[in-house]
């Protein structure tokens, strides 16, 4: 197991370096250190001297990748890329451009993100599986056709519509919950209900359709015919035999996104004013705060890779064929 983990982590390193390089390059193609300084200092009345000073303070006064004029003689390490990005690999995210400690921000902001993401995931799973199983139960009847059409319609509507529509209907017209904001403790619930609901509804279409395909694929397998030949009712066939098998691809498909839940949902959090990591990232992009964006992209890639490793491990746990295969 340990050897496996070490190997996977070694494989992950080049990917992380690549991702890092890429975000770095993209970001600096769009705006130069000069632009960043100007952005932070305000557009008007900025003297070149002030810009230089800002760059120096924030460590942007060096060349991007290669520094032949380096005083210390390290042409590669004495660059923006090296000083800003390489530290990430020891999870030292440094400070944001406004001077706040990024690591501290992340530990604070991940809780609201999780408060939305976890209920969305759980409620979502329940809803999608139920919906998909209902369609599979009524397969090739009008209920199934109608359900699939509904799923496609739900899928085709933009997520923004659900957010704005939901806020308008539930908060503005019916005054059931506040339109946006956040609180700590139990009071948070009234702020969370709507985003969770909308998060679930927003993915009903795509997920239910996908799960329905998984169910139908299982239903056509030979062991289901055996189960029917035993005289079991369609309900038992579906819940005992099909569901157990279908859960394998469904659950392992979820494991990969589990670590990503920390990252929060960019759009939902911004619209509902939830101070999570999603809105953190969006704000950072808006303010051209390279340090935060870089940190979040890096974190995202690390979490994704962890997700992939967890998926492999979870297969060995859920599936008896793999679990016992080696023994």
């Amino acid at each position: 197991m340990l050897a496996y983990l070490v190997r996977r982590i070694l494989y992950a390193l080049p990917i992380l370096i690549g991702v890092n390089l890429l975000t770095f390059a993209l970001f600096f193609v769009v705006n130069k250190p000069d632009d960043m300084a100007r952005m932070h200092l305000g557009v008007k009345h900025v003297t070149p001297a002030a810009i230089e000073r800002w760059k120096q303070e924030h460590g942007y006064d060096k060349p991007l990748f290669y520094n032949p004029a380096s005083e210390t003689g390290n042409a590669f390490t004495d660059t923006i890329f090296f000083t800003k990005s390489v530290r990430l690999f020891i999870f030292d995210f440094g400070n944001a451009d406004d001077g706040r400690n990024i690591t501290y921000d992340i530990t604070q902001r991940m809780w609201p993100s999780l408060a939305i993401a976890i209920p969305t995931l759980l409620v979502g799973l329940l809803v999608y599986i139920t919906f998909a199983m209902t369609l599979a139960f009524f397969r090739a009847t009008y209920i199934d056709y109608a359900g699939v059409i509904l799923a496609v319609v739900l899928m085709s509507i933009s997520g923004l519509f659900y957010i704005i529509g939901g806020q308008y209907l539930v908060s503005k017209l019916l005054h059931l919950v506040p339109i946006s904001g956040y609180a700590t403790g139990l009071t948070a619930i009234k702020f969370l209900i709507l985003p969770v609901l909308i998060g679930v509804i927003g993915s009903i279409g795509s997920n239910s359709r996908w799960y329905r395909t998984i169910f139908l694929e299982e239903i056509n397998k030979d062991y289901v015919r055996t189960a029917r030949a035993k005289g079991l009712s369609e309900r038992v066939v579906l819940f005992k035999h099909v569901l157990k098998n279908a859960l394998i691809p469904i659950l392992t498909g979820i494991v990969v996104i589990l670590p990503m839940l920390f990252m929060g949902n960019l759009i939902l959090e911004s619209f509902f004013g939830v101070p999570g990591l999603g809105s953190y990232t969006i704000d950072a992009i808006r303010q051209q705060d390279f340090a935060i964006v870089r940190a979040m992209v890096f974190l995202g890639s690390v979490l994704y890779i962890i997700g992939l490793i967890l998926t492999d491990i979870s297969y060995t746990i859920v599936d008896p064929r793999i679990r016992l295969g080696g023994s």
Binding site: A140, D222, Y223, T226, S233, T316, P320, G326
Partner: protein
């Protein structure tokens, strides 16, 4: 006869499939009855509607698409087709149980086998007073002869071999105490020795429980061994029905007769096998006459225009009869000659196989192929599978060596090792005095011209996006044979003719052909580079008997014409009898006995060879055959038993057998055996 209680009476059953705007009449007017305690066999080639008939009885025809459109299925006088679905569920698994062809996929992979057995017992309340479901499951596992039932209870299907899974399927079926067991090709996916175990088990259980068995099969041997009565299906209809003796003594329908004639065996060694021309008609056609007419050599004008009606032989009961004009009094006069006579004339013998010079072509010496076993997520090598462990064989020019053995014994790996598709761990492969094992890649590529291979599954071995002409030409181009483009095209036409296809087919794609035609294309492809040796890896085991006969004829003909040598890898011993000159019997990576066909098949020495031969179901119902049933199954080649690998299953094993692997003892210049029972002479 009269006092037999009828359990099931199927009347005029029609089951259709809709799709692609066509209707396939998979079952088109089938009637039969099954009596208490008897075995009723439904025999027929692939696609004739056997499975759909059985699924219709269970009302499990796949929906949407499939539909029972007409007919009655009476179980003790009650029409199952009229029952509400909820009541039908009380019938399924309880009064009628079913087992399926593919034990590998028919069990739920994520449930313990014990749970899967219990489920039926609990559903149909067959638990005895004070018995827990678990006890019942274990009792059933014992009843189907699964050793160590306590432990097996909590295992998952993938931990069992194919034969064991089929036993579990039978246990599930028994759990509801059925009156009728429908077994759809229960042993087709199993090896002969395991098949004979499973058939024996079915027979024993039938004796104990008096249930009736409806046995669906394509194997005449299995029918001869098991059935009380037989029905032959062709293109969705039953064309002949009779009790076993009547049927095997004198099959009456032209199709049944042909089926017998196309079976290979030793008595037909020097003849061509009878073949049924053409192929089964599409079930989407509207038939105006007899369905068999295009392929029937007894057809008369009326056969084309009149649909035959059931002709029962009254003296044998209403059910016994055929669907053929030949037995219809209205047409009788036109068939003056007795059928059998015409038939004998047709199956005239060809010239015997010419014996060519005994020049050695292939010499394989002590070939070993070991695969590392890698374990866990980190792929550590924890041992070796000794798939081939010291195999020596010789094939002279123009001769056929049959390599026989159960699945998993390493036959295919020998073939791959000879072809250098896998580099052998040790040993030598010598073709025409050239050592192949130490050739460089490009040199080997040139030598591939001399050895070609054809596979079991002709479809997956061809690129579906290439036309037949390109498939055949590919090898010629690679080996630079056949001259320029023009000449190659002429050669392709010639090759297609040789394998019995018309040259027009060369612009068509593989999916447009039937299984047998595809295998012909593969043979043409192999012949294209003018090889000296063709390795045939189970070339006919995916084909129906009538098609198999065509391919065997073709292979024999090509051997006579071009002096080809074959390494014929198979588990089908009747094919061996028909085609091979020499036989090598393989068990767990080693050759245990080798000799000429006569020596090995008529005077088998090794206990394994004897068991293997005795396990093959015989079509001849009079033969007094004593089946030697092997205990257990093929052990893992990763961890073979010490001493003679066969000793745990060998009835003759004694002390010495565990001391070491017996060396080869020659009993004649050509016949040798590796067993301590024999002395060198």
């Amino acid at each position: 006869m009269a006092e037999q209680t009828q359990i099931l009476k199927v009347e005029n059953l029609h089951t259709w499939f809709r799709g692609d705007g066509r209707i396939a009449r998979a079952v088109d007017g089938v009637s039969f009855t099954i009596n208490k305690g008897e075995t009723f066999a439904l025999l027929g080639e692939s696609g004739c509607g056997k499975s759909v008939t059985s699924l219709s009885i269970m009302r499990l025809v796949p929906e949407p698409g499939g539909k029972i459109v007409q007919g009655r299925v009476n179980l003790h006088g009650q029409d199952l087709l009229q029952l509400p679905e909820t009541q039908m569920r009380d019938v399924r698994g309880s009064r009628i149980a079913m087992i399926f062809q593919e034990p590998m996929t028919s069990l739920n992979p994520v449930l313990k086998i014990g749970e899967q057995i219990e489920e039926t017992a609990v559903r149909h309340k067959t638990l005895k007073e004070g018995q827990t479901a678990r006890q019942k499951a274990i009792e059933l596992l014992n009843a189907v002869g699964l050793p160590d039932a306590q432990r097996r209870y909590s295992e998952y299907p993938h931990q069992l071999s194919g034969g064991m899974k089929q036993r579990v399927m039978i246990a599930i079926a028994l759990a509801g105490d059925p009156e009728l067991l429908i077994a759809d090709e229960p042993t087709t996916a199993l090896d002969v020795t395991i098949q004979s175990q499973v058939l024996q088990l079915l027979r024993e259980l039938q004796g104990e429980t008096h249930m009736a068995v409806m046995l669906i099969t394509h194997d005449l041997g299995v029918v001869a061994e098991m059935a009380d009565r037989v029905a032959v299906m062709y293109a969705g209809q039953i064309v002949e029905q009779a009790d076993r003796e009547t049927f095997f003594k004198a099959p009456k329908h032209p199709y049944s007769i042909k089926l017998f004639e196309s079976l290979p065996n030793r008595t037909k060694r020097n003849q061509r096998l009878a073949v049924i021309q053409g192929s089964v008609p599409s079930l989407a056609t509207e038939f105006k006459g007899c369905r068999f007419e295009p392929r029937c050599q007894f057809a008369i004008e009326d056969c084309k225009n009149n649909v035959p009606v059931w002709q029962s032989f009254d003296e044998l009961g209403e059910e016994t009869g055929v669907l053929c004009h030949r037995f219809d009094p209205r047409f009788e006069s036109q068939f003056s000659e007795p059928v059998q006579k015409i038939f004998d004339a047709v199956a005239q013998s060809d010239d015997p196989v010419t014996t060519r010079g005994f020049k050695e072509l292939l010499k394989v010496n002590e070939l070993k192929v070991h695969f590392p076993i890698q374990k866990g997520l980190f792929k550590r090598t924890v041992g070796h599978v000794r798939a081939v462990d010291g195999v020596s064989i010789d094939i002279p020019q123009g001769k056929t060596l049959a390599l026989v053995g159960e699945s998993g014994c390493g036959k295919t790996t020998v073939g791959k090792g000879i072809l250098q598709l896998i580099s052998p761990t040790a040993g030598s492969v010598n073709l025409d005095n050239e050592e192949l094992t130490n050739l460089a890649k490009h040199q080997m590529r040139q030598r591939r011209k001399d050895i070609q291979i054809i596979f079991q599954d002709p479809f997956s071995s061809m690129n579906p996006r290439m036309m037949v002409a390109d498939i055949i030409e590919e090898g010629m181009v690679a080996q630079r044979v056949g001259g320029d483009k023009q000449k190659r095209q002429t050669r392709i036409d010639e090759l297609l003719n040789q394998v019995g296809l018309s040259p027009e087919v060369k612009y068509r794609y593989p999916h447009e052909f039937s299984g047998g035609q595809r295998q012909r294309i593969c043979i043409a492809r192999a012949l294209a580079v003018e090889p000296k040796l063709i390795i045939c890896d189970e070339p006919t085991s995916a084909l129906d008997v009538s098609v198999q006969a065509q391919i065997l004829n073709l292979l024999k003909e090509l051997q006579d014409k071009f002096g080809l040598a074959y390494l014929f890898i198979t588990h089908n011993l009747s094919v061996v009898e028909y085609l091979a000159h020499n036989v090598a019997v393989m068990y767990l990576g080693r050759i245990v006995e080798t000799g000429t066909v006569e020596e090995v098949l008529e005077n088998p020495l090794h206990p394994y060879t004897k068991a293997l031969l005795s396990a093959v179901p015989q079509v001849d119902i009079d033969s007094e055959r004593k089946v030697i049933r092997l205990r257990g199954e093929l052990p893992s080649p990763a961890n073979p038993p010490v001493g003679c690998h066969f000793n745990p299953r060998c009835a003759k094993a004694w002390q010495e057998c565990r001391n070491g692997y017996p060396s080869a003892r020659s009993v004649s210049p050509t016949h040798s055996v590796r067993c301590y029972l024999y002395q060198e002479n």
